[in-house]
Symmetry: C2
Subunit: 147 residues, 2 copies
DNA sequence: TTTCCGTTGCAACCGAGTTGCAGATTATCG
DNA sequence: CGATAATCTGCAACTCGGTTGCAACGGAAA
């Protein structure tokens, strides 16, 4: 990822581009799918987990990333490609592999709308599919789940 | 709930109806929507949380209840009305209130199907909506979130 | 340069979930 | 019925991801 681009991205989201935040952002960009706080701890090597935690919280509040709950006990995140609070039809589904623990973004698969009963005010939607991913199905043994 | 009915329900699911399990089942039946391990700890009063935990795990494995991940950090459960591993169209959506922390079963709202990319083997689906529930919207102050 | 305020690292903490183990309970068999 | 085996339960301790308090750091403004 381009340095300049990252800085502009943060500024566009009203986030002060500090050194640590740039490091975290660059680490995030290297993931194809979702990533966890622990993933970033490994990927950045130098940044403390509490700083990563606060960075993630900040980024999420500024709509730079989405929070993905995959039921693994570990919160996952994925970069948002929009600059604003996404509407349901801009969101995609996620797939959590029960064998290897990876959580995929099904970018092409948008979340179908539902008719929520009257009176409920909708803010966010999560559509999560669980099962076995193509990788694990072919190499039938599979990897151990990393949670 | 009828004692006899509960016993038969457990037997039908290949679960030995012990005293503790009957107590937990009766407690579960008293919830309209979803409940957590902590909820059952309070509701049963006498049963230890590790026993409840093992009971929940067992019940879930025997398709007596569904696991609902609402992103609150606490796992929620709801009773399954079928005797088997539910197919996607038998499942309903859930609504998590960000203010009071309650998670509702939208029994009438079934989960819409998606076209999962080829190669993914689907086991379970979760459709979770977050926002503010009718209760909290009317009494605009709302209750404090209980997580 | 000095001051100030947001940011960061460290260490301690929190709480839901999970497990090992010994004692209690239930089922099985003679 | 009594002995034995298998299962279940409560207790206490532990795990681990997430979260927070606080002091030190760093960079912008005065």
């Amino acid at each position: 990822m381009n340095e300049k681009y990252g800085e502009e991205l943060l500024l566009r989201h009203d986030i002060r581009p500090t050194a640590v935040r740039m490091l975290v952002l660059q680490a995030m960009e290297r993931f194809d799918d979702t990533f966890s706080l622990a993933d970033l701890e490994v990927a950045t090597e130098t940044v403390d987990k509490s700083s990563i935690f606060r960075t993630l919280t900040l980024f999420a509040a500024h709509h730079l990333l989405h929070i993905v709950e995959d039921g693994s006990g570990t919160t996952k995140y994925c970069l948002c490609r929009n600059d604003h609070d996404c509407t349901p039809d801009e969101l995609h589904c996620h797939f959590h592999c029960e064998r290897c623990g990876r959580t995929y973004c099904l970018e092409q698969t948008h979340i179908p709308a539902i008719a929520c009963p009257a009176g409920f005010e909708v803010h966010q939607i999560n559509y999560l599919v669980k099962g076995i991913c193509p990788d694990c199905r072919t190499k039938s043994g599979g990897t151990e789940p990393s949670r």
